[in-house]
Assembly symmetry: C2
Amino acid sequence: MGIPEPAISADEMRAWAALFETSNIVQYAADRNLRDSVGLTLAQFEILLRIGEAGTDGRRMTDIADALTVSRSGLTYQVGQLEKKGLVMRGPAPDDDRSVIAQVTPAGLDLLRAGIPGYVTLVREMLFDRLSHTDLMTVTEILDDVRRQLKDQPKRSTFRRGRRTGEVAAGADVPAEPAGSAPE
Amino acid sequence: MGIPEPAISADEMRAWAALFETSNIVQYAADRNLRDSVGLTLAQFEILLRIGEAGTDGRRMTDIADALTVSRSGLTYQVGQLEKKGLVMRGPAPDDDRSVIAQVTPAGLDLLRAGIPGYVTLVREMLFDRLSHTDLMTVTEILDDVRRQLKDQPKRSTFRRGRRTGEVAAGADVPAEPAGSAPE
DNA sequence: TATTGTTATACTCTATAACTATA
DNA sequence: TATAGTTATAGAGTATAACAATA
């Protein structure tokens, strides 16, 4: 091995690798599939999905960003792409004049209708068909719980804005203290 | 809701969302952490890890690509970055003259030593500390099994090379037939 | 002919920070 | 002052295909 394993249980790293890789493999395949079937990246499709879920009410930009792993400016960019394609529309929020509400256009809804079946099928074939229903429920229960806890943590969209203290360079998204000396 | 749910069980989508988001949140945080502590992206660190695991024998480029979610040219690019930083070295493979073996330099090993503890801590705090050991083992067992099955599928590195039939546009990484008509 | 790895190009995306406007 | 969203810019990364060399 040669690499020091800092008192970490091999179980933990195997668990993380399994989660990490399984998720990445499926995401990669889904991205390919969606680019091909509807011409959107997975990231864009997921954004469209979140907006679509909100129906005619639309959804605030920040809420969308928080629901996904996207920064605010990243979201603006991607929603801009979706808007260019005529799939979403942005408008003012009724209650808060700072906010922007995004909502799916008819064309966007059509695209969702066209893309969802293939997406679902792919995830099902890669993931769920290999799991018993019991296992499915078990994994969901466990991970959903973790996810909820993580989501309750500092919102990415609010994370370090406008600051310029230069001090806490970042990376402190979460308690974890690197503790390693940074070379170079 | 407005969005058609094609006879999909809500359980399945919740499971997928849990896996997808949990994995992404932790990966995002790990990326931040690693950039900060050792100046590498998560992708680069994972590559370095895989190479490092192989010790002094080094590891073939294709094998590394297959172990991760990276394309061949993408790996060349990233290993190039690591090489620029003096963290890895590339050399000819003894048995196959087409192959290239990458191995970690002393500096690369130092960097791994510096980065691993923080990485492990982060994953542990975000993930494992929220799971009982039993749950950890359960999830690992289930996902590890899925991962293994997925890995045995067509290798990404071999996937559609040199072809130009223009026909099977891609997206057929996996059985899944989109079945939806592509708009636009 | 198939595989290994690199390269070249164009393009997409991201990081960062500055900026406007409202709460 | 804090929050919502956009913008601008530079740089990083990716997709695609072509390429050379070996099996």
